[in-house]
């Protein structure tokens, strides 16, 4: 019998790899246990519908303002970054299991913006990948030029974003994002299937796109594997929890226009 606390960790993907695998196997082989997991996932969706994130967000924002007034030397950037991180992790189990929409390959249209080519800094184009890990870069077009963004940086509706990636070895990969509305957008892939990626250089996606008005965050996932795989729009967690895939995440915090 797996205790509740461990199942909750399983649902949020916050268990050691060995235990994750053990429970995944149990889910695949034990019908009753699988039903229990299914019910919890449905419960997550119901909770999110009943207690929308917007309500909580407002309350947290008030807390933030209150904290700032009390503490003069408080680091707002640090606070916001950490809070987004907390939310991103805490809400993965809830948000990622909502009904999602795969927009297909026409990402620019899916995001409500016209396709836009963004000329990236030339010196980056032939950079060889360092180390043995896949990498993902997020760039933003501004009036001053193209700037590379850091994880948890702020972004706004209408910002033009360009994604780049590199992998250390030949593999299959897919790149998608999830926004604060729980909508999934595919940026690189053959439909829902991963495409074969060549190792070496940083690769820019052939298009940039504009961020839409989804609130709170836009989280990007670069998922790679030695085997072919696909993302199930209705259960992203299933892919992210697989042992045979590597996941790189990158979160932009959405702020007002």
């Amino acid at each position: 019998m797996i205790p509740d606390w461990k199942i909750e960790r399983f649902l949020t993907g916050d268990l050691p790899e060995e235990e994750m695998k053990k429970i995944q196997n149990l889910e695949a082989t034990d019908e009753i246990f699988a039903q229990r997991i299914k019910m919890l996932r449905e419960d997550n969706r119901a909770i999110l519908n009943k207690l929308p994130f917007e309500t909580l967000s407002e309350k947290m924002e008030r807390a933030r303002i209150g904290s700032n007034q009390k503490t003069l030397d408080f680091s707002l950037v640090k606070l916001a970054s950490a809070a987004v991180l907390v939310l991103a992790v805490a809400l993965v189990a809830l948000i990622s299991q909502r009904e999602t929409v795969v927009a297909g390959t026409d990402v620019a249209q899916a995001n409500g913006g016209a396709p836009a080519q963004v000329a990236l800094v030339e010196t980056q184009s032939d950079t060889r990948i360092k180390g043995m890990e896949a990498r993902m870069e997020v760039w933003k077009k501004t009036l001053a030029g193209i700037v590379q963004m850091n994880n948890l940086d702020e972004a706004r509706e209408g910002d033009e974003i360009q994604l780049r990636y590199a992998v250390p070895e030949k593999c299959f990969g897919i790149l998608f994002s999830m926004d604060g509305n729980g909508a999934l957008t595919l940026h690189m892939g053959d439909g829902e299937k991963a495409v074969e990626l060549a190792p070496g250089k940083m690769n820019s996606l052939p298009f940039a796109y504009k961020l839409d008005d989804a609130p709170h965050f836009e989280k990007f996932f670069l998922v790679t594997s030695q085997k072919e795989f696909a993302v199930d729009e209705k259960d992203i967690d299933k892919l992210l929890k697989r042992n045979d895939v590597k996941v790189i995440g990158f979160t932009l915090k959405k702020v007002g226009k």
Binding site: W5, M60, A63, R64, L79, V86
Partner: protein, 146 residues
Amino acid sequence: MVYRRCVQLLRDSSEASDLMQDVFVRIYSASDRLDMQSPSSLLWNTATRLCLNRIRDKHRHGLDVDTSSLLLNIACADDEQTDYETKNVLARLFSKEPESSRTIAVLHYVDGMTLEETAQEVGLSVSGVRKRLRGLQAKVKNLEVK
């Protein structure tokens, strides 16, 4: 996860949804000091602690508390380690400071974590957990420290 935890301990969906928001706000307010190595643990333990406080406060005010006698006893135990809010040292909860003995007791006795799992959860040694539970045992009936 947080909502279900609150419902489990409070047995009241309305209170649980209220407290769930408090959990996030508390963490958010102390986010410059939090340790994000295990976010699930942070959320779970913070929810546990706030639920215990709620149960204790209701009991002190003479309100009906729909909970098991074990949980009620733990919640109302006089634990010198738990008075974080009044001492304004929330940072301890989010740094490497171990959780309160009350929370440790709930993890072990209510959630069924082994001593080893509890120790890992709260950043103490097994003997440290045992010691804390024994300290609480003197104040709470039906707590058997193995």
